[in-house]
Symmetry: C2
Subunit: 506 residues, 2 copies
């Protein structure tokens, strides 16, 4: 009798699928909270979410799960790197992490991060870090407790947090890739700043009617293959993609009439996440094989469609004519190349989510630089604004004018998401490595984009990444797909080539 036919396997995965189904209800409620919930419904929603989270946690930590896992592991015969062994491996990882966290800590984290997000909103609004300080201190203290509870072997406490978002990844590995990446990027930013070519930014800040943006963004998402019969596109203040479950994946974006890139590239970004979710095997819902491999791998998909595809010249060889039809008054008389240069302006700025393809990773690395000593205890929370600004100056050559555009700009810390930021830049590096592998196998990707053909890349990603679910950890998946280990080089090569051409110094 093979493992998948054993009663223990069946019982375990019936249990986990039921838990996932309960989680999918919470995902829908979470989506609704960000899109359509009336303001007075916030309290009810908090109660609903807390209840569902409690029920999911109870099911996740049920002792029966531990018994079944031990039985399956003792029985053996799971195979090496098989889907079945991956399902058991991840069920074990999830169970271990959940059971190591004391119920009291889980509840305290939930309570404190809910409240601290409210304080953060107000503090950012008032540009007043002092208001947020006691709450950030509480969050950091609780996350340090979490790291201790989870454990981190010979590594650093930061590893225990990172592992929640990027299973198996360590701070040391991240650091190894980030250091050369940063050096190359700082130099590239300086080269670009020194270039005499100055693209015309006004092209993308003219009045682009929101209704036309909405239709154009949907058209682009459809073109790259997002299936609207199994998904939606709505508006949210903080855009996201939510894979509710099989057949239901929801994207959000936001529209700024006077800043064209925001909604369109945001839509392509979220649609990239969405293609991953839609590419997972429906029947594997509730198991590792039906789940994404990591946040970094997820981000590699969104960044690839946003940047490698959406900000390429070839994409616009195909889409610029439709864009001119969609926005006739603003794009009349603009050439393809002027437009291409405008959507690829590189310029150090304060806000991460508005940063260009080159400077973006510097924003991420700054956060990684601060998070590690915060969690090790080497950086007192009160010193965050000073260190933030110093590091910002070092990485980007600018000093934030206030904390609202400095260390108060992101929601993550107030929400307890420490260890999450590195996955953004890991995603960018993975994306470049995956893209090279795809290019090698599929040939003239650029020419395909110019003809409006996105199916070959999408299908390649589906086969090589999406349908593999969480069969492998991220580093192993990278190896299986590209034959390489994590490297900054494909990303910096791409950026140096692209922006060297754009700014005339290649």
């Amino acid at each position: 009798m093979s493992a998948p036919e054993s009663p223990a396997y069946t019982e375990l995965f019936d249990h986990l699928k039921h838990t996932a189904l309960l989680g999918s209800c919470a995902h829908l409620l979470g989506w609704d909270e960000q899109t359509y919930l009336p303001s007075q419904g916030a309290e009810l929603r908090a109660d609903q979410m807390a209840m569902l989270a409690g029920m999911v946690h109870e099911r996740t930590t049920s002792p029966r799960v531990g018994e079944l896992l031990s039985q399956l592991e003792a029985d053996g015969g799971l195979g090496d790197e098989t889907p079945v062994s991956a399902n058991v491996r991840e069920a074990r990882r999830t169970y271990e992490r959940a059971t190591r966290l004391p119920q009291k800590l889980v509840e305290e984290l939930s309570r404190v991060t809910t409240l601290s997000q409210q304080v953060w909103i107000e503090a950012r609004h008032q540009k007043d870090f002092a208001q947020f300080l006691p709450w950030l201190e509480k969050v950091v203290a609780l996350k340090r407790e979490e790291a201790t509870a989870v454990g981190y072997g010979d590594g650093s406490p930061y590893d225990a947090l990172l592992d929640d978002y990027e299973p198996g990844m360590t701070a040391a590995t991240v650091q190894e890739a980030f250091t050369p990446l940063r050096n190359e990027l700082v130099q590239l930013v300086q080269q670009i700043a020194g270039s005499s070519r100055k693209p015309d930014r006004s092209i993308i800040t003219r009045a682009y009617p929101v209704d036309a943006q909405r239709a154009f963004g949907r058209q682009a998402a459809e073109a790259i293959g997002f299936d609207f019969s199994a998904g939606r596109l709505d508006e949210a203040a903080h855009p996201f993609c939510s894979g509710i479950g099989p057949g239901d994946c929801r994207l959000t974006t936001r529209y700024d009439e006077h800043y064209f890139p925001q909604a369109l590239f945001g839509t392509l970004h979220e649609a990239g996440h969405g293609l991953y979710e839609q590419g997972l095997n429906r029947d594997d819902f509730g198991t590792a094989m039906g789940h994404s491999a990591s946040l970094g791998i997820h981000e590699s998909q969104s960044r690839m469609w946003e940047n490698s595809v959406g900000r390429s010249r070839e994409f616009w060889q195909h889409f610029f004519a439709p864009a001119q039809r969609a926005f006739p008054t603003v794009l009349d008389g603009v050439t393809l190349d002027e437009f291409y240069r405008a959507i690829n302006i590189v310029e150090p700025s304060f806000i991460r989510v508005e940063a260009d393809e080159v400077t973006y990773n510097l924003h991420v690395m700054l956060r990684f630089e601060l998070e590690q000593p915060l969690i090790s205890g080497d950086l007192p929370v009160a010193d965050v604004p000073v260190i933030w600004n110093e590091t910002f100056e070092k990485f980007l050559g600018l000093t934030p004018t206030d904390d609202a555009v400095g260390c108060l700009q992101d929601v993550h810390w107030s929400a307890g998401l420490i260890g999450y930021f590195p996955t953004y830049s890991l995603g960018n590096m993975y994306a470049a490595q995956f893209f090279n592998a795809a290019q090698e196998e599929l040939g003239d990707l650029d020419e395909q984009f110019a003809r409006g053909e996105f199916a070959p890349l999408r299908d390649w990603l589906r086969t090589n990444i999406h349908q593999r679910g969480h069969q492998y950890q991220a580093d192993r998946l990278l190896e299986v797909v590209t034959g390489e280990t994590l490297s900054h080089k494909p990303l910096t090569d791409h950026l140096k080539h692209k922006f060297g051409q754009l700014y005339g110094f290649e």
Copy 2:
């Protein structure tokens, strides 16, 4: 120690509130299913809903609930007609009904009605009752089983079904009110048909732009007091109001560019339901005191705002000028009276949901006439089309041209909602009785409407009906508020007066 302070009361209502919170998650998912769910997400949604329904049922029938109820009832001291006694009474009623239904019957009803709704859609589309017949036979058989399981004392099996929607109501009481109502209405319809006055229907079938309808409908819902900070208005194929829970009540409507009354009166109707939900005491969520009294009382609120208010001449004294501004091309040169007559055209037609204020109740009574013998077993399901058409001819003087506009028009039977229809006409009768009581107490309601003042009526309803929740059963609430028992007379007096004036025979 009074009952509300006893540990049993606390434990029971903590349990019931938790169950209600779980139910509120299902309500949100149900709303989403009708508004925004992508088509491929239907299977996941069915699984989610079945899971939540199962969990709610399990909590509802928990033996501990029975123990706590028995303890509270034995302790006594609940008081007479107090909120506490109402909470215990309704908890007992819900518990009894739920525990009397065998789990197998509950599951079979859920399975059969889910499938039979699919068959019904197809059968209606193909105008083919034969296709639906075996499924309707199954549904009727299961509903008969349900009636037997629930029990009905000395009454009829139909009582057991009716009681689910209109607690305490019996078929005999409904019949007693319906018989004179029908006689009066049949006569009134004939008088109207004989009138030489023929309103200009073309006024309401011109092109009313949907965007303008949307804005105008929202404006009207806001004017009568629907609070959009605690609710929403969206679109759905089959409009409804869903009270998700405290602070979150969602209305839906549908737009027909060439039939103005549909969206607007639909919106006022659902907003009437919404005002009831928004008028319930937030703190009583999960108890009888925080719940509507019955579907009939609910319908009295929607019908009052739709008809007594929305289709009154005074409402349009206030709203016709805004309507002319919102729809300048179609309403240019139309007088208030021409418009008022057009939105109040009485004309027998096949479809219940499109029927006017006078003929609507005849549609409802036709269904009541058929449902009783279906449940008693006196009417074979196969005979439904013939009996439907005969009765339709008798009540409305028309014979349906096919079953799609005849016995296949409503979703209710396929969904197992037998015993539900009477609540629509009960609602109309209650509405007329409540409205007279309000008028007596508040004086010149008509003049208030003409000035655009709807707060006095709304506040009166809030105090006298909404905030009382389910303290009383419907008949007792009617008595407490109006001093009367159920009667058709206020409704027929209103209709005879209004349409006598409109059609010139009063």
